[in-house]
């Protein structure tokens, strides 16, 4: 019997404030250990936390973006446990009343659109880091503590168990990542750890109640998230099929071995002794504050997606892909502005290129969109030449690579390259006929196959003609002429 995978995600998004959530220390990444830890962050006796209103404002922005309820009153609580990188012996978080309740995120996968419901989003502080490697050897066999990260502002975003596959979980994580960077509350740099996911995974046979879940901690890339969920679901299914039972536990994903390992079982779970933090008054958010935040919101991805579908005739999938980043949509819209033809075909072609060649080249070069080597106007110039059949799509890819490698960077770069390299498509019927006759003469065997009823042989012959033309012949014309000549020679 088939199993259904049930996934809920908890995401820690580090908020993009310049100082920490309860102290004035800087949040800049990469400083030498313990140089960005104030008296509050290292929990000297007698120090007290003071809430950073910038962190609250970002939480409000998030709540508005996902259509959640901004709680007018929310409470900070202490989560008590001992660990060397937790200086106070407790983490300040929100427990019973979070700053945001509810809301949802719409995801798009191959199987269509789906709404993932959010349970809550709450503010909390990050812990420091234990350092086990790279310490000065004269210190001997010790571990270090770096408290630069202690007190970093986090928004923990918790979903309902609404996802049913790794693909859906990835789609959610990517959409959420796009959203938090879009609205400017998180830099989203996953390598720096400022967007990390915990996945709650369980399996069940369809129609049955939810199975026992395992939580997989600290997945800091989309790929690891997918692999960890797939491994974990497989593990649970095999366990059940072998007559075993899934135990509730916290597990760690090991990317090197592509497996999850038990970290602690439910029995080992600590009693965190949550209670309201007496150092911090109830967080009160009034309507005026919410209104100010709302007025400063950019156009949200959902609204923009709808506009892309409506105005450009794009598919929901393309619209979703384009809105994964604000910069990407801006680039796309700049390309469309520079196009001559304003029709659905041209917009679709532009979307294909922006999501295809352009994004691939940018990823390979690992540069931000703003620093891409091909400007929107230059790309539009290239697309114009595809549309008017000056070059084929295949040739266009070569032209694009040439543009990206820096040869000709102006708006007319494509035209210049086409001219200089003589890439203009051959559309002269007599020239193509000459090429066709030449190829047919040299490939008598293939012609025989075709005549014997093997229609596919024509494709190989088209390929030979294209090759002979160095890719410049108009493929549609080649096809037509070839079939005509073959037919006439019967």
């Amino acid at each position: 019997m088939r199993f259904e995978i049930v996934i809920g995600l908890e995401t820690h998004a580090q908020l993009s404030t310049s100082s920490k959530i309860f102290s004035s220390a800087s949040t800049a990444f990469g400083a030498p250990p313990n140089t960005q830890a104030s008296a509050v962050d290292i929990a000297l006796p007698g120090v007290l936390p003071v809430l950073n209103r910038g962190a609250v404002e970002r939480a409000i922005r998030f709540g508005l973006a996902v259509g959640g309820t901004i709680n007018r009153r929310s409470v900070f609580a202490r989560k008590n446990y001992f660990y060397p990188d937790l200086p106070k012996g407790y983490q300040i978080s929100q427990y019973e009343t979070p700053v945001v309740s509810g809301g949802s995120v719409t995801i798009v996968t191959d199987t269509g659109e789906k709404s993932v419901r959010l349970v809550r989003a709450h503010l909390e502080e990050d812990a420091g880091k234990s350092v086990h490697e790279g310490l000065p050897p004269e210190l001997g066999d010790v571990s270090g503590i770096d408290l630069n990260r202690a007190g970093m502002p986090l928004l923990e975003i918790v979903t309902e168990p609404d996802m049913r596959s790794a693909a859906e979980a990835i789609a959610y994580a990517k959409t959420l990542h796009a959203l938090v960077t879009w609205i400017g509350i998180c830099d989203g740099d996953m390598q720096e750890g400022n967007f990390r996911c915990d996945a709650n995974v369980s399996v069940r046979r369809p129609g049955e109640p939810l199975g026992t879940r395992c939580e997989i901690k600290n997945l800091n890339s989309f790929r690891f998230l997918a692999q960890a969920i797939e491994y974990e679901a497989r593990r649970q299914i095999e366990l059940i099929e072998d007559g075993g039972r899934v135990e509730q536990e916290t597990r760690l994903y090991d990317p090197d071995r592509d497996e999850t390992r038990s970290m602690r079982s439910k029995e080992d779970a600590q009693d965190y002794r949550y209670f309201p933090d007496p150092d911090l008054p109830t967080l009160v958010i009034d309507d005026a504050w919410i209104a100010r935040v709302r007025d400063a919101m950019p156009e949200l991805p959902d609204a923009l997606r709808a506009r892309l579908v409506q105005a450009y005739g794009l598919t929901p999938y393309d619209a979703e892909q384009l809105t994964l980043s604000r910069a990407l949509v801006d680039y796309y819209e700049a390309v469309t502005q520079a196009l001559e033809a304003r029709d659905a075909a041209a917009y679709k072609l532009a979307a294909n290129w922006v999501l295809g060649e352009f994004s691939a080249a940018r990823n390979r070069a690992d540069v931000a969109i703003e620093h891409a080597k091909v400007s929107p106007r230059a790309l539009a110039g290239l697309l114009r030449r595809i549309a008017d059949h000056t070059i084929s799509g295949k040739i266009a890819k070569d032209v694009f690579d040439t543009m990206w490698s820096g040869e000709g960077s102006g708006d007319d770069a494509a035209d210049a390259i086409i001219e200089r390299r003589g890439l203009r498509q051959i559309s002269d019927t007599s020239a193509i006929e000459a090429l066709v006759n030449d190829v047919l003469a040299k490939n008598a065997a293939m012609v025989e196959e075709y005549r014997a009823g093997k229609d596919k042989a024509v494709n190989a012959l088209v390929g030979q003609v294209m090759k002979a033309s160095k890719g410049k012949a108009n493929p549609t014309q080649v096809n037509e002429i070839l079939r005509r000549v073959l037919a006439s020679g019967k």
Partner: protein, 489 residues
Amino acid sequence: MSGAFGSIVELAAGLRAREWSCVELATDTLARLRDSQAAVNAFISVDEEGALAQARAADARLGAGDAPVLTGIPIAHKDVLMTRGLRTTCASRMLERFVAPYDAHVVARLREAGTVLVGKTNMDEFAMGSSSETSYFGPVRNPWSAECVPGGSSGGSAAAVAAGIVPATTGTDTGGSIRQPAALTGICGLKPTYGLCSRYGLVAFASSLDTPGPFAHTAHDCALLLNAMAGHDERDSTSVSRTAEDYARLIDANAGTKPLDGLRIGIPREFADDALEPDVVASVEEALAALRSLGASTLDITLPRLSYCVPVYYVVAPAEASSNLSRFDGVRYGHRAAEYDDLFEMYCRTRAEGFGAEVKRRILVGTYVLSQGYYDAYYLKAQQVRRLIAEDFTRAFAQCDVIAGPTAPTCAFTIGAKANDPVQMYLNDIFTIAANLTGMPAMSVPCGLSKQGLPIGLQLQANYFDEARLLNVAHRFQQATDWHSRRPS
């Protein structure tokens, strides 16, 4: 000169009249401090050099004119308040050698006001206790009787003033830790409204209850100290933002022979308690008569939930303490066990060695009441009852202006008498805890001596931010009585 037992007002006048200098005052204070240490043990640390340097600066400030009233006044801070460069131990082995890199807000305010810091006073470990016996640095002795405790937890601060060493000290009051030792040593002690004086730099015991406040011989002196200590501090989110006021303004006003005319004093029926010593009852009755003769009227009031104060307190305070004291883990500062095999053992040994028995008891109780399955029955319930107690007081203050009664049920008790009976010890706070649970201001004023010659304190309580009135009532009482002028032999 001597300056012993002088009030701030008197010493400040002497400084301005050039009868003595700040350096002379500091030198004499330091001599008295040294001489008293063996008998009273009021101090944990002394800063002779620093005190003299501050005194020289204060002399210069006075010479330049326009110096604030507290300029050159010797002061000592309870060793739970952070003092930059001078160690702050909380009377615990855990922080035996801890030197803070910063001043507590109230310490900084008093420094700016010109006071001369001579040292840090002894106390119950981490301010947990009512006798100042639990200090890692040995018990404080009551200047009135060496066999007796001075009360606690701010016992060193109270004894330092009562012994005539310094005219002023600071304390912290979480369940009576300023008022009870003030009563037991025959001086004034004020717990201001919660939030009026910043807690920044006060090593937290129970965050929702901890309140810094002053000790002095007179209410007038307390008002001058409060003027310097109060004020908004953005580093403490529970610090209130209010326009500054002069807490001595009513004291300075000329009020005639019936200065308390129109004042309504509420006497809670619930204060009549079997545990009250007859001498305490008699002295408080006498004090009420004195207040009536100054124009005040007394009326019976009722505070129905008063009996819940002690149990509520002994849930809330340990709960917060158990969390607040988690930072003392041996990782970053303070005591760390010398030997351990792993992290867990390092924590266990460090805390087993670093904390004394009473601190451990409260951490255990606090951990228990916050644990899963018990939270609702204990902590949550206690917080609900706490609100009801506050409602009782709010209702009472609609009928009266101040509430009066004994500060503590007994006079100073013998060292060791209650050390092994926590519940008896906790009952010492029966009258003082309410003001911490509600956050309202309260103070203790000396109002008598027992047959054994031990001091008795009158507790006066007022509504939120009504310190000026509270201090004025105490001041008028002191104008009419001389209990604050009595000295231990």
